[in-house]
């Protein structure tokens, strides 16, 4: 049996005396969309941020492809980092406002691929097309893009790193219903093509039921149940 892409073991987080969550354990298989359901303030965003290494939990293990990112050397973690990416809730602050959409898109490529200018342009164009962006979007500053267009650029940007795992923290809660459907379907398409796994964090059960393979319910700071979803309706 192959290792899960992500395994979270007995994760706990305390701020001072108050416990945000405790004893949170779950694992996500390759190519799976795993839903994390919780009300606002339930700590689900903090769990997501711990997984991508933006916050440190008080206790527990986070195993990415079998290796614990919390007990890893700096260099090793840096090499692993591109494999674990995150999409944030608020599109309006997800891109650098002083860089054009395309510059935002190719930033990770510039950092990691070592591609030269023309190859960089071409790869960026491919990614833009993959995520359904039009050329005129790419030449704009983020303030002139809609929420849906920004989330597409975020997805293109993330995909340039060929991640094994993406934490999507309420990626569509600020979007219109019709745009939400487009973005979620795009995420499914990318999953089919690349085999990426998602941890989809949301407070909208209808959305989770529609796109996830499994859903974990976060209540009172811990996971109370995990539901298997038979997908295949309209997918």
């Amino acid at each position: 049996m192959s290792l899960p892409v992500l395994a979270v073991n007995e994760l706990a987080m305390k701020f001072g005396n108050s416990e945000v969550f405790k004893n949170v354990s779950f694992s996500v298989e390759a190519g799976e969309t795993f839903g994390l359901f919780g009300k606002s303030g339930s700590g689900k965003t903090t769990i997501g941020r711990c997984i991508v290494g933006l916050e440190k939990p008080t206790y527990g293990k986070i195993l990415v492809q079998g290796k614990d990112i919390l007990r890893m050397g700096k260099k090793e973690f840096r090499e692993l980092r591109p494999k674990v990416q995150m999409i944030f809730q608020h599109p309006e602050t997800s891109l650098d406002p002083r860089m054009k959409a395309f510059e935002n898109l190719i930033e990770p490529l510039k950092l990691h691929s070592g591609l030269k200018k023309n190859a960089l342009l071409e790869r960026g164009e491919e990614l833009a097309e993959l995520t359904g962006l039009r050329p005129e979007h790419l030449a704009r500053y983020p303030s002139h893009l809609s929420g849906g267009e920004i989330q597409r650029i975020v997805l293109a940007r993330i995909m340039s790193l060929s991640p094994a795992f993406v934490v999507a923290d309420e990626p569509t809660s600020m979007l219109d219903v019709s745009v939400q459907a487009q973005i979620l379907r795009l995420m499914q398409k990318l999953q089919k093509e690349t085999g990426v796994s998602y941890l989809l964090i949301s407070h909208d059960l209808e959305v989770l039921r529609r796109v996830c393979h499994r859903i974990a319910y976060l209540e009172d700071g811990t996971i109370t149940s995990v539901e298997n979803i038979k997908r295949g309706i309209n997918t």
Binding site: T93, R98, F102, E103, L111, L121, E125, E126, P135, A139
Partner: protein, 300 residues
């Protein structure tokens, strides 16, 4: 992959970050007050640069026969109590004031920005330490603090720049720290972190460009304030040696002849006011232009 994509990119100047700058210049030209201030400033910087060539007299030549003269064809702005030509002294004085002001602002801007950036970005013990230092420097009243430093170092152009920079840098550090603190929590910075970008890259590429606007506004307005501080120190008789013409010193010397020869205080005073006003117009304008929320019309 069709070529329309690629062509379009190059045409739209997709990879040229300068585009933001050209926008800035365009907006400056749309504002009449800023354009006026900018032209006036450049004109006077030009006059100051060529002051030695265009001054009608040597600013330090004493001519006691012609002291305390009112403006006339020979001395356009009159003469002072030692018979020195006021116009020549104001022009050379502009050189002194402007170069000290730019020097002070540049040094405190650079040092303050670096300190503020470090405090805001690294947080924790670095922030604790730097913030206390910043608070200490902010708690001294500016002119008195500068006076003390000059008292220890002695007068002179270099020491004056140093003293005023020591007084000013903490203001920049404080503004920068606040900016960085709010920026580093924003999603685009976090996604640069998760993409594996290093601290230095993130600071250079994302933090500084987004945080610098209010610091630049502060710097522009500060240019006026520093000119005022120099004048204050000279007025008090500390700061610059007597052989360097300076507006504050001229004001101070002229005050004894207020009744008989008021021009000796009026003209240097006007020069000081003029620069302070010019720099505040420019500072206000830059603030409006750099503030993305200032633009009308983008409601949806």
């Amino acid at each position: 992959m069709d070529n329309i994509f690629a062509d379009k990119f190059r045409k739209e100047g997709l990879l040229l970050p300068e585009a933001y700058g050209s926008d800035f210049v365009k907006k400056v030209f749309q504002r009449k007050d800023m354009l006026f201030a900018l032209v006036a400033l450049l004109l006077f910087i030009g006059l100051a640069l060529f002051a030695p060539l265009i001054s009608p007299y040597n600013p330090n030549t004493i001519d006691l026969k012609n002291k305390n003269l009112s403006p006339s064809g020979e001395h356009l702005l009159g003469t002072d109590y030692l018979g020195r030509d006021l116009l020549s002294r104001i022009l050379i004085g502009a050189q002194t004031s402007l170069s000290i002001a730019f020097g002070v602002v540049l040094i405190s801007l650079l040092f303050g920005t670096v300190m503020g950036c470090a405090a805001g970005y690294y947080g924790g013990i670095v922030d604790e330490t730097l913030s206390r230092v910043i608070d200490i420097f902010l708690s001294f009243p500016g002119v008195i603090f500068a006076l003390t430093i000059l008292g220890v170092l002695g007068s002179g152009v270099f020491n004056l720049i140093l003293a005023l920079s020591i007084v000013q840098w903490a203001h920049y550090a404080r503004v920068m720290r606040g900016q960085v603190l709010s920026l580093k929590r924003q999603e685009f910075v976090l996604s640069a972190v998760t993409s594996g970008a290093g601290d230095f890259y993130i600071i250079r590429k994302h933090i500084v460009p987004n945080a610098i606007a209010p610091v630049l506004v502060l710097a522009t307005i500060d240019l006026g304030h520093v000119i005022l501080s120099i004048a204050t120190l000279s007025f008090l008789g500390i700061g610059l040696p007597a052989d360097i013409p300076e507006w504050g010193a001229m004001l101070s010397a002229g005050k004894e002849f207020m009744r008989t020869a008021p021009y000796q205080t009026i003209f240097p005073g006007l020069a000081i006011t003029f620069f302070v006003v010019i720099f505040s117009i420019l500072g206000d304008g830059i603030r409006d232009i750099l503030d993305p929320n200032h633009e009308g019309g983008e409601i949806y």
